[in-house]
Symmetry: C2
Subunit: 363 residues, 2 copies
Amino acid sequence: MVQSIDIQLTTKKKEKPPAKNLQFGVHFTDHMFMLDYHVDKGWHTPRIMPYQPITLDPAAKVFHYGQTIFEGLKAYKTEDGRVLLFRPDKNIERLNRSNERLSIPHLDGELVLAALQQLVAVDQDWIPSEPGTSLYIRPYVIATQPCLGVAPSTEYKFMIIMSPVGAYYAEGVKPVKIFVESEYVRAVRGGVGEAKTAGNYAAGLKAQEEAKEQGYSQVLWLDGVHLKYIEEVGSMNVFFKINGTVVTPALNGSILDGITRNSVLHLLRAWNIPVEERTISIDEIVEAAKNGQLEEAFGTGTAAVISPIGELNYHGEKLIIHEGQTGELSTKLYDTVTGIQNGVLADPFGWMVDTTAASTASK
Amino acid sequence: MVQSIDIQLTTKKKEKPPAKNLQFGVHFTDHMFMLDYHVDKGWHTPRIMPYQPITLDPAAKVFHYGQTIFEGLKAYKTEDGRVLLFRPDKNIERLNRSNERLSIPHLDGELVLAALQQLVAVDQDWIPSEPGTSLYIRPYVIATQPCLGVAPSTEYKFMIIMSPVGAYYAEGVKPVKIFVESEYVRAVRGGVGEAKTAGNYAAGLKAQEEAKEQGYSQVLWLDGVHLKYIEEVGSMNVFFKINGTVVTPALNGSILDGITRNSVLHLLRAWNIPVEERTISIDEIVEAAKNGQLEEAFGTGTAAVISPIGELNYHGEKLIIHEGQTGELSTKLYDTVTGIQNGVLADPFGWMVDTTAASTASK
């Protein structure tokens, strides 16, 4: 039996931002979800409450030792008014894998799903309905025990906040330029690269800044052991189409098990396009680009869904991919995934979770 | 000209915990220091205020992307009533190196030193004076911009909190048992291992927990590339005395540039003991232990100062060091460093910063 969620509604709704040109993660909805943990009580007191600042002791462990994990997923409003979540079960599974790696106590998946559905229902008016828009949902856990000893916290908060987001590509899907990073390293086997935890993102900021200074939107990360094998692009997984075959780095413990990555693999296999999950060296990509066999490249992630790569810069050499234009496969994947998400296309894999009932109940 | 620090004193002093058996980092003094940053204003409004909870937006970047750094140092009260800080200049230098790596704006070193001195002065009654005790000081920066975009924050808080700490070794210096970690990795070259940032500590929790389950107090970290070369022990630097020569891993970018490490190197050189900062493989240590040439091993850090290692477990094999007892060099280093820190011994290197004047002024 899932714990019942107490709901305290706001008495003062915020003005919603204009749906046009919504920046990512800047505006937040009227409500948030909170659940507390204490080592003596377990997870307790699930509640939906008005979005509000949180108050913590300055010694709270999250500030000092980074014991925290998060997730990211989206809710969509269909043309016929249904409210859909994209594969929340996968996010909940990964949330608990991240918890395990960061020594954070396991969360009840059913309670997390109920919290997602009820919070989305309460703030359903915040889900934008313009093409390409959605409601971004950020579940996360922070360690709150006020103690400077380096050891897992005895207290945590699990929260969910939500933010309406605009179309990632305001003017149609557009390829990005990527800098192949051969100095900074994001993660290494045996580390926390596979977990969705704060420190992985902090570790990537410097490289990202330096790439931006040179006119590149993101970096392509190479592995920490050899600085040779491809891992991720920015905070996305990465795919290459070489001579008709699509390749992507195998899950090796240091890259994120992306849910868009997993969905793209499902689609490619359903379409009978040859797919390989394996080790890929940067040299192989450079050679394929020079031979004219590198047909397309793209990143996958919740924010952009599919982000085509038009240029790779490796050691100063610029490799132009698909003449800097979006390829056919990238377009087809983008249209299919977003079509399923928006409820415009059929959902052959049963990915979408319809929460319209929860939403109607809360009206 | 250093910005002047506004001081708001508490009207309700807390009861101090008994000086006996003080746990590390659990009790905090009456006041804290705070300084704000906004990209349009720079660092501004330095102030000392009553120790109190802080209020942040749930979207504050520190919770999601771990953009945060910290320092740790101690203040001591001497028998003749002087108040001393141990090498604060080194902490301030490292603070800014960590800031640089984490894309956090540079802090004015003079302002940080003034903040340390004035805060210690305000709360000087909190410095315990029993042998082995001190006031632990924790300066830290957190990213506070409420925005989920993965990019450096436009807003930060720099804070200092302080906690009275008991003698690390209540019953005399005692060797610890260490588990050589060959699965989990703390950091890798090109990463953030050299920075004192939250994510490094989060990454180490799991290994530490598993070592504790097997009866070991900490892990010995090996390098991320080869899983072969020694890096750190727990959150301390590590030294080995082999056949009369003291060796410690060279600063390679993935280990912390410890201030106790640096101080121990100064002392060893002053004592004409052969010292090498170099790459050290775990195999070399195992062989030296088996040959009877591994005379001593110890960790160095602000909390314990010197932490002798009595046993190493590598792949199930137990290597006993110095018969599990504290060695002569470990004892001499501990007595000398703590003697200088407590003002009992002369300070030949000019390490101690006397803040008695600041303290007297604030009376």
